[in-house]
């Protein structure tokens, strides 16, 4: 299983598409079913697929655990900061202060796109972090 060429190649080729799908879900969160959490989970699936086919060591060379951790913390701080920006501009906390834009366009709904992006980064990093921790403890894959 570990040395299967087909799985390795397929995982490698599928990776950008899964990433693309995840980002599509994230950025269309306010227009269609989906959103930050779902997109983040899909992105995390791509990394988990890579781990399952290549093993933890090679995957860690690409997506380092330490960087993911830092990314995760920055994502939450960015969420809080986006909320606090509302206070700086004189609105309540987490106010949707950006212009709402035209109905049905991607560039609409104000603060929702940055929030979706932040949530998706956070969820992707978090899910991968949980998976890494469990895998490393077992030490098998």
């Amino acid at each position: 299983m570990k040395n299967s060429k087909i799985i390795k190649t397929l995982a490698q080729k599928l990776l950008p598409f899964i990433f693309l799908f995840g980002f599509y879900l994230t950025f269309h969160g306010h227009l269609s079913p989906g959103g930050g959490f779902q997109g983040g989970v899909v992105i995390a699936t791509a990394i988990i697929l890579l781990t399952l086919s290549y093993g933890i060591k090679e995957t860690e060379n690409r997506f380092k655990e330490k960087q993911l951790r830092v990314l995760e913390k920055f994502a939450i701080l960015a969420f809080i900061f986006l909320g606090l920006l509302g206070i700086f501009f004189g609105y309540p906390f987490l106010k949707n202060f950006l212009p709402l834009g035209q109905r049905g366009c991607i560039a609409s709904a104000g603060l929702m796109i940055p929030l979706n992006l932040v949530i998706s980064i956070k969820v992707a990093a978090g899910m991968t972090g949980i998976f890494y921790a469990l895998v490393k403890y077992r030490g098998e894959i």
Binding site: G29, H30, L31, S32, P33, G35, G36, E72, K73, A75, I76, F79, I80, G83, F93, L94, N96, L100, G101, R103, G104, S108, A109, G110, L111, M112, L115, N116, I119, K122, V123, G126, G129, I130, A133, L134, K136, Y137
Partner: protein, 72 residues
Amino acid sequence: MTILIIGSIRPEYVNPRNLDYINYYLENGVKDTGAINLVASIYLDYRAYDTLIETVVLFMAVIGVTFILSKG
């Protein structure tokens, strides 16, 4: 017996005033938030504070798993 008890609960979930609140979101949600997906507009605008706490909860889970499994 449990099944009997559960079966005996007959929730009549259509309360006229209940519909008023729902209709507010359905009628004004797009105008208020600019998102045509109303679930997203509630998740990220009306109740964004819940979402913030939820991300913190997920982060706590990550910290917890790595912390519990790290040593020894």
